[in-house]
């Protein structure tokens, strides 16, 4: 069965989520897919997270922002390209303001010390806010396609768990009970919890507990709104108009992480629609064995280094092909696209267009 290529995905889907390990070119891929969509007449919005500076410059992004910005207002593409660099804090703030029952309640939360730490310290928050932003933009009539880049955390699929995890955090029973310190409730607090809280107070100071209690008290009444929203975000991920692109480099560690991601997606009933292999080395049509033999038999002649070099590169390419085959077999059914090692980092729109052309060139390709 022929799987749809990336060209089909950017032409038909409403969301493409680029996931994969850090340092493999996820943001570049996301930007290029956005351009591909704009090139095919769609209105695309790219959500990036912590892009390298020159790539951010290429996309015209000079600051973290909550709102997408239109790139290149001219007639470069039949469609439109928009981009934003995710600001976790302001996205979270907006969410708080939306669900607060009053401006006072919002203010109480926004100024709480524990809340102010959440965006930096609670793992999964950045991932969740990326998904939240994705959900919001998905519902925005201005865009046909939202392409989102996922944060480069070790467990880069945290976004799958993030809504649940944040829900659990906000629902925390220990603090819920503390907030209503009546006699009956105090009895309900297990000895374990009391010991824990006493220890925590001793170890990190009573301030921490006071901040936490104040936070959960301020938050009261908003849990349901948050839970519903988290469920809606989660539901969106399994919508058929959402596609996942797994981005890796053909190296052992990146492939191992890629396989882990694919397995985690599968656990959640999701699948990889496209596999993008970045930074692959060319083999120059050679095989390392015969080239090494040639280099040895020609030792001392000016041909020897030419064969030795081609053997080196072919060896590297052969090893990479094995890695590509491993991950491609694992995501059976996904289209596979290989992007060669480029001479330089992408600095501008033209560079992204070049990558877009490579991404769309073939859908069955080099697997």
């Amino acid at each position: 069965m022929s799987s749809p290529g990336l060209a089909d995905l950017v032409a038909e889907k409403s969301v493409v989520i680029c996931c994969g390990p850090g340092g493999v070119g996820k943001t570049t891929t996301a930007g290029a897919l956005g351009i591909a969509a704009a090139g095919s007449g769609r209105r695309a919005c790219v959500v990036t997270i912590d892009p390298a500076k020159r790539l951010a410059d290429a996309l015209g992004l000079d600051e973290l922002s909550d709102t997408p910005r239109r790139i290149d207002d001219g007639d470069r593409w039949p469609g439109e390209l928009w981009a934003l660099m995710l600001d976790t804090r302001s996205t979270f703030d907006a969410l708080i303001s939306r669900y607060a029952e009053s401006p006072e309640q919002a203010q109480g939360i926004l100024s709480n010390r524990l809340y102010r730490n959440i965006t930096g310290a609670l793992s999964g928050t950045q991932e969740y806010m990326a998904m939240e932003k994705l959900y919001e933009l998905h519902q925005d009539d201005r865009f046909d396609l939202v392409v989102v880049d996922t944060p480069p955390s070790r467990n880069a699929l945290d976004f799958l768990d993030a809504p649940r995890r944040l829900g659990r955090f906000l629902d925390n029973r220990v603090f819920r009970i503390l907030m209503t310190p009546t006699r009956a409730y105090l009895k309900a607090v297990s000895v374990a919890t009391q010991t824990f809280l006493r220890t925590v107070s001793k170890v990190v100071g009573a301030d921490v507990i006071a901040d936490a209690v104040a936070f959960f008290r301020a938050f009261e009444g908003m849990e349901q709104g948050f839970r519903d929203r988290a469920q809606a975000v989660e539901a969106l991920l399994s919508d058929e108009t959402v596609a996942f692109a797994l981005v890796v480099t053909p190296r052992r560690d990146a492939v191992a992480e890629g396989l882990f991601f694919a397995a985690k997606l599968a656990d959640s009933g999701l699948s990889v629609d496209a596999l993008v292999i970045n930074r692959a080395h060319p083999a120059f049509g050679a095989s390392p064995g015969p080239d090494r033999a040639r280099a040895a038999s020609l030792a001392g002649t000016p041909l020897a280094p030419l064969y030795a070099n081609r053997a080196d590169l072919a060896e590297l390419a052969e090893r990479e092909r094995r890695h590509i085959a491993t991950v491609a077999a694992d995501v059976d059914g996904a289209s596979v696209v290989t992007v060669p090692f480029l001479a330089d980092d992408v600095h501008d729109i033209a560079g992204l267009e070049e990558i877009a052309a490579l991404l769309l060139a073939d859908g069955e390709g080099s697997g």
Binding site: N117, F169, A192, K202, A286, D344
Partner: protein, 325 residues
């Protein structure tokens, strides 16, 4: 400087760098080099990924308990959760710690006290250092920007927590990080644009905000130089008294051009790094033949030792103030 002398400068070496630059491989090579030089070494993996174990030829990832990876080299994982459980156990909460972790109550405390998990991990590293767990302790630090957060956690926590055992712990960690005779940071990068930019930024941030001493910077994955790639294949064939098959000349020429162009781009980035970051460089080659396993690790450890041999003896240089940004 000889390898043993290099390793004896400090007991703890924290290896940090952006994802994908080969941080784990460099950690493994450093530990292997130390062992070859007659010292015992312990590699501590903060974000266990299996890469460290694989470099030493082990299929299963490292766990909390140290295992021997090679003669003289031990390895172990040390995650934030491990450190937290151990800390709670040390504070008389052993039986409860796992349950508290799963209840989410720990998340609340960790959020309310930013950096606490990092402090606990580094506190454990400090305990390993104090107990002289090995002659050299190599910490494979978290990737990318997390490394900065990891290493600045002590400074941040000292601002936030005014008293108590955690503050004492943070003070101890700050003491470790700030003492060049106890701890140095080895930054790793590739000779590519974005990794070079990031390593320069990380170096200055760490020196400014943590006051940590930077060891030489490791430039990983360099194409080994090959002479004689400029020749025209047809001419070379004539000189060698042989003929090339159709298409062969073009393929050889393209492969040679690719290698020269990559090597040239890398040389530019190496020079740019040298300009922006006045630290000695330890240059490691790209290995074409295979993924890093025990034999390759020996090759890299050998290169590392040779490169260290070119570094002048003496205290590591301090970065000039206000440069590099």
């Amino acid at each position: 400087m000889d390898p043993a002398g290099f390793c004896r400068q400090a007991r703890v070496f924290i290896v940090a760098g952006k994802g994908g630059v080969g941080k784990t491989t460099v950690s493994a090579a450093l530990a292997r080099m130390a062992a070859t030089a007659g010292l015992t070494s312990l590699v501590v993996e903060v974000e266990p990924s299996g890469g460290l174990a694989a470099a030493f030829g082990r299929a299963e990832p490292l766990g909390y308990d140290p295992v021997e990876l090679a003669p003289g080299v031990h390895g172990r994982a040390l995650t934030a959760d491990d450190a937290l459980v151990e800390y709670l156990q040390d504070h008389g909460m052993g039986r409860l710690s796992r349950r508290l972790l799963s209840s989410g109550a720990v998340d609340v405390v960790a959020t309310a006290t930013p950096g606490i998990k990092d402090i606990l991990v580094l506190g454990k590293v400090k305990a390993l250092e104090r107990s002289a767990a090995a002659d050299v302790i190599v910490v494979d630090a978290p990737a990318a920007g997390h490394a900065v957060r990891f290493l600045t956690s002590a400074a941040g926590l000292l601002d936030a927590v005014r008293s108590g055992p955690i503050r004492a712990q943070a003070e101890d960690v700050a003491g470790l990080l700030g003492d060049p005779d106890r701890c140095q940071v080895l930054l790793v990068t590739l000779a590519e644009e974005t990794p070079v930019n990031e390593v320069v930024e990380t170096a200055y941030t760490l020196e400014d905000r943590v006051g940590v001493t930077l060891a030489p910077v490791v430039v990983n994955g360099l194409y080994p130089g090959v002479d004689g790639l400029e020749v025209d294949p047809e001419e070379a064939a004539r000189a060698a008294g042989t003929h090339l098959r159709p298409g062969e000349a073009a393929s050889l020429a393209q492969a040679a051009a690719f290698r020269r162009s990559r090597a040239h781009l890398q040389a530019e980035q190496v020079a740019r790094l040298a300009d922006a970051l006045p630290l000695p460089q330890l240059r490691l080659p790209l290995l074409f033949s295979a993924e890093v396993g025990p034999p390759e690790l020996d090759v890299l450890a050998g290169h590392l030792a040779a490169e260290i041999g070119t570094v002048a003896v003496g205290p590591p240089p301090e970065l000039p103030a206000d440069a590099g940004r």
